[in-house]
């Protein structure tokens, strides 16, 4: 029989004692096998890069200069003309890119506001229960009892239109679904053995909530963010379309609003460009949300 080399032995040991994998690592492995999900992550990264480059002024700038006559149809003569021009002769292609910048920033900022609120309130309510729980539940029941588009309209209406009001309105309302999930998970987890064990060795409430339980429910945060990001993009488009959103700079919603009068003149390209740009990012998030749920939520494994 052949002598075992050191490398073989190392292999054997590795086989015998498989390295422990965390929930996240496990989920990531499953996600990596999902080619469609990887493609969607690629689309999201691409949009993010475009948004950052536009923000830095590297591409699609300046967007508010005349590149051709009013309502020039799409042509392949030069890059700015690829989606045609609007009534001022501005490049629709540049405006779409600037719109991506607005959309991605709305998704990012609103999630950065809503996610910490959702996690903190959900964790406190689920972990401590009692009156804290009652207050938090009352808070999110109240917020979710106002139809979301009406609530957004009302908040932006009273705060005054503009991108700032949109960030705020979305951030302050979008935490409800995450809070509900986190609260439910904390209620389940707080009496599990590992938490009781942590308590018995003297872990404080703070440490139990944030160091022990939170990492075990953090996959719900990722799933929720992927959905909230998309909802924020869709909401911004509607609000900007209604004229209470982004002011003085291109946004997909503003472009669609402009385009509704252009259609009767046969100028379909501004509407088509804004719609397509929105379609691909929303599609990517839709598929990604499902893929993340399948990959990260082991209880649902094998379902659907």
């Amino acid at each position: 029989m052949k002598e075992l080399t050191a490398a073989d032995e190392a292999n054997l040991i590795e086989f015998a004692v498989p390295e422990g994998r965390s929930l996240m690592q496990d989920g990531l492995r499953r996600l990596k096998k999902d080619k469609l999900a990887i493609a969607c992550i690629g689309i999201v990264i691409f949009y993010a890069l475009v948004a950052i480059l536009a923000k830095l002024g590297v591409i699609a700038t300046p967007w508010d200069v005349k590149v051709a006559g009013s309502y020039s149809p799409p042509s392949f003569q030069s890059l700015p003309l690829i989606f045609g021009t609007d009534n001022f002769g501005y490049s629709v292609f540049y405006k779409v890119i600037q719109g991506a910048r607005v959309s991605m920033s709305v998704g990012l900022v609103s999630c950065m506001i809503s996610t910490p609120i959702g996690i903190t309130l959900g964790a406190l309510a689920g972990y401590f229960g009692g009156w804290i729980d009652e207050v938090v539940v009352w808070l999110f029941t109240t917020l979710s009892s106002v139809p979301s588009i009406m609530l957004l309209i009302a908040i932006v209406f009273v705060l005054g239109k503009g991108l700032g009001a949109i960030y705020f309105a979305l951030g302050i309302t979008a935490w409800v679904s995450l809070c509900r999930v986190i609260r439910g998970e904390f209620m389940k987890h707080k009496t599990r053995d590992y938490v009781l064990a942590a308590e018995s060795v003297g872990a404080s409430h703070f440490s139990r909530v944030f160091k022990h339980i939170l990492p075990n429910v953090s996959h719900f945060v990722i799933i929720d963010v992927s959905i909230q990001f998309m909802s924020a993009i869709k909401a911004e488009v509607i609000l900007s379309f209604l004229g209470i959103g982004v002011q003085g700079q291109p946004s997909w919603g503003v472009m669609i609003d402009d385009a509704k009068l252009e259609l009767s003149r046969g100028a379909w390209w501004q509407l088509a460009a804004a719609t397509m740009a929105m379609f691909f990012i929303v599609l990517a998030f839709n598929i990604l949300g499902d893929a993340l749920r399948d990959a990260l939520d082991p209880k649902l494994k094998g379902h659907a």
Binding site: T141, V146, P147, M150, A154, V158, I238, F279, H303
Partner: protein, 311 residues
Amino acid sequence: MISYILRKIVSTIPTLFGVTFLVFILFNIAGGDPALRIAGKYATAERIAEIRHQHGWDQSLPLQYTHFLKEIVTFDYGTSDVTHQPVRDMILGGIGPSLSLTVPAFFLTTLIAIVIGLLVAYFRGRWVDKVVVIGCVLGMSIPMLAYILFGQYFFAYRLGWFPIHGFEMGFPEQLYSVALPVIIWVMVSLGYDVRFYRTAVLEETNQDYVRTARAKGLAEPRVFLKHVLKNSMAPIITNVVIEIPLLIMGAFLLESFFGIPGIGGITIDALNNSDFQVLKAMTVLQSFLLIFGNTMTDVLYVWVDPRVKLS
């Protein structure tokens, strides 16, 4: 059961108060002085004071809040500063046109979605199922505005099959003027709804009782029709019921685009004209209808599904 329903109704009271409180804070405090907004940029101090007095905004906040509660209870929201009509009459007048759009649209969507959802759930994993699931995700990702604008452009403007704009009362005309908005509504909602009903049914097919039914030799159609379908009724019914009260509120964008004088259209007009009183009334009303729908669903859920504990 009756005590459960009563408890459910009582439990909505804090939420109702929460909503009125939220709307009050938003409109009467956070937005700054609403009188300035109504009076416009060039108003004199007397005019502003007059508006304030008219609306009772010169009173203390608790008094303003009780006045607001009184408005809600008596369903008398005063007069719109833009249209100079009583807000109540505007709302009541909008219900008819809204319902003539939303009721056919909703029932058509629900019917089609349930049928497709059940069919693809039955053929789960096969190509029909896969095609429909992909179609749903694609359909969900197309912006609603695109459906409306392109639909209006092609079917009404280019092909001339439907009116582009406007609303007529009376039996055949009314159907004609809501036909295209109804079709667009169905297109927009079908993706979500089919997916929902498919998942609702599929969740049941993984249950133990289904395996038992198969194990005792029941044919697949029988398992599906007799066992799975019956048990997946609870989520299906609740999903339908929760929507019904909101049908009164119409559809913002569709009504606005097609010139249907329903509640949604009125709300969009109010937004464009900064019509404070109307927006406030609409926000409260929509919320109350949503709470009503939620409560009805909770009650129905117990009624449909005896496994749910009455707690």
